[in-house]
Symmetry: C2
Subunit: 371 residues, 2 copies
């Protein structure tokens, strides 16, 4: 095989497929990037058997063929080469020579024959949304997946198409994040669970804006994302995702309207006094005036602050893990948020009127008599 | 004690003195910042007994006094408070209340009486240079100190005043870095060894430019840096520093003139094939043409590249630790550098005509017959 392409094209392609290179494996071929030069197209592929990515790059094929190169050293070399034309040539004994200006690297490589290709995906059920929306919806939900492999389904996110709306849900047993995106045209209903790692990798390589599209195809076992010159295929998590409708339809006694930034900054400050291991709550008290009183008491010290709010009626004292509230507030773009509460035992819900986002957060046990 | 000051003034002051807060100590008082409000001035002090820093900040004293506050939590709280006026008040039982807008923190503190003050420094021998020059000279030499506590003197840098020039030297047994700065006026000769940690901390808090001055005072056991509203006192390392004049005056057979960026980029690329633990050299060959040939051979692969040079005469094959050459080239601002060499057993010297910088680098053992 012999190809020529620009350093920038090659580096961009490597950057995309690198997300599917396995970093801890006993199979060296999974640490490689496959370069294929056939039918006038140069394709890069990586596949760790959970997620596989392939992308086409512009360049010239001088001799057709394919080769598997260890991803890390290949990526390092290309990144450090001058911004000029790169010439890649393989020999029969699987040595790869990389030339750029006066620089010449020779590195050992592997036969492309042993490489695992991406599975074929039937393109029956599909949706289309903007690259911006997909990246945003992942950012706005991914923080509440679980990392506990014992609750495997919680390590993924539910992607459900229903009534021409994409509903993305993540939950970790303490909180639920839900986002809805309206879809164009008629879309068949479907519901799958996508691994969290796939979504995190994907959102790093989807750089397009609101005008750029991504097509998503669903099968029983796989999900395929197609955008620009790139295809990302991931296995799905097997099993039925959690039913959350009951959690979302709780009656509430009190609706509080508060400036998002003020609340976020205040909880951010208060959380300085709480170590993750402490499991200390931030106490929110709402009395018969138009203030929210926030209070933290730990062995580092105490903090008190009040924030102006608007509310319907009622009083409450309730405790939360401050991180959970901050995680939700950080991904809400609205200037003001509505928080719905019932009593100190029941979750609070942060959502907008049209329910395009819903964040449910369970409270921590506190001795309400003390406040 | 009760003081008021702006959040930005206080945060800037804390940032300066924090460099002298001890992070690993069994004496809790060394983890504190002392606030003193006396004689109409607010002073912050930190002292880990190796280095001590004090700085004055603008503000209003409502009640004189002093208090020692644990530096980390104090710094975290102040950083997260709104950009507004901060009110700090202490009680008789050493509780400190920090108020800012609607936020109120109460944290435990310590009596200022137990705090170790900075030693008094006799201001006999002194020099003055610009803050820019001091920061630069540290950056340009600090990389070649040793971190081996068995060769204590090598963990510092020699600061020598001689013939109205400041000469700064660092060395680690494999290389020497030397920089000279001409001084104004008449300056008494002096030679001390300043701990590397002091210089690294110092260069993080000296933010002034070429117009801003720093006064340096030398005693037998201490060095004092005075700039803006800040004083930094450090212990010196005891003992006589290494004599390096013989190493600097070696005859050379060959002078090579090369573009600095080209050489640096080339060695940077080549070093991808060398793991730190490999101890593999980069081989530099100069033959009877006007090229420098660079070569690396490791179990990851091989790299060859050539660079145009100008030279007097002669041929050489010599091997270096690529990191040592890169460290020196990175802190040289000249577009072209002169490299002086003798044979494959003797060090190379990178220096300019006026010898305001001299970098000496020992070669690695190589089998020259192989190249």
């Amino acid at each position: 095989m012999r190809i020529k392409c620009s350093k920038n094209n090659l580096a961009a392609g490597i950057n995309i497929v690198s997300k599917a290179v396995s970093t801890k494996t006993t199979m060296p071929i999974l640490e490689c990037i496959l370069i294929e030069a056939v039918n006038d197209r140069i394709k890069l592929t990586a596949n760790d058997l959970e997620i596989g990515i392939e992308t086409f790059i512009d360049g010239t094929i001088l001799e057709e063929g394919k080769i598997a190169i260890e991803a890390k050293i290949f990526s390092d070399i290309v990144r450090k080469l001058p911004e000029s034309e790169i010439d890649i040539e393989t020999s029969e004994d699987y040595k790869t020579t990389i030339r750029c200006e006066k620089s010449k690297f020779v590195i050992a490589s592997k036969s492309g024959e042993d490489f695992s290709y991406l599975p074929d995906i039937e393109k029956e059920k599909s949706i289309t949304l903007s690259q911006f929306d997909l990246r945003e919806v992942v950012r706005q939900t991914i923080f509440s997946i679980s990392y506990n492999e014992n609750t495997k389904l919680m390590t993924g996110e539910s992607f459900e198409v229903k009534d021409n709306t994409l509903i993305v849900v993540s939950l970790d047993g303490h909180r639920i994040s839900l986002r809805k995106i309206p879809l164009k045209g008629e879309n068949e209903n479907v519901k799958v669970v996508v691994p969290g790692k796939t979504l995190m990798d994907l959102s790093k390589i989807i750089n397009g804006g609101a005008e750029d599209e991504v097509n998503i195809y669903f099968t029983d076992r796989h999900i395929l994302f197609e955008f620009d010159e790139t295809r990302v295929v991931s296995r799905l998590l097997e099993g039925e995702y959690f039913k959350i409708s009951q959690m979302l339809s709780i009656d509430y006694k009190m609706r509080v309207n508060v400036n998002k930034k003020e609340l976020l900054d205040c909880i951010d400050r208060a959380s300085l006094l709480i170590k993750e291991s402490d499991k200390k709550p931030i106490i929110i008290s709402i009395k018969n005036d138009n203030n929210m009183y926030l209070h933290v008491d730990s062995n580092m010290g105490s903090m008190n602050e009040e924030i102006s709010i608007r509310k319907d009626s009622g009083e409450i004292v309730i405790g939360f893990n401050p991180k959970f509230i901050m995680d939700a507030l950080r991904v809400i773009d609205d200037e003001e948020v509505n928080i719905y509460m019932n009593d100190f035992r029941n979750p609070c819900i942060i959502k907008n009127e049209e329910e395009s986002y819903i964040y449910v957060i369970l409270p921590m046990n506190i001795n309400t008599a003390a406040y």
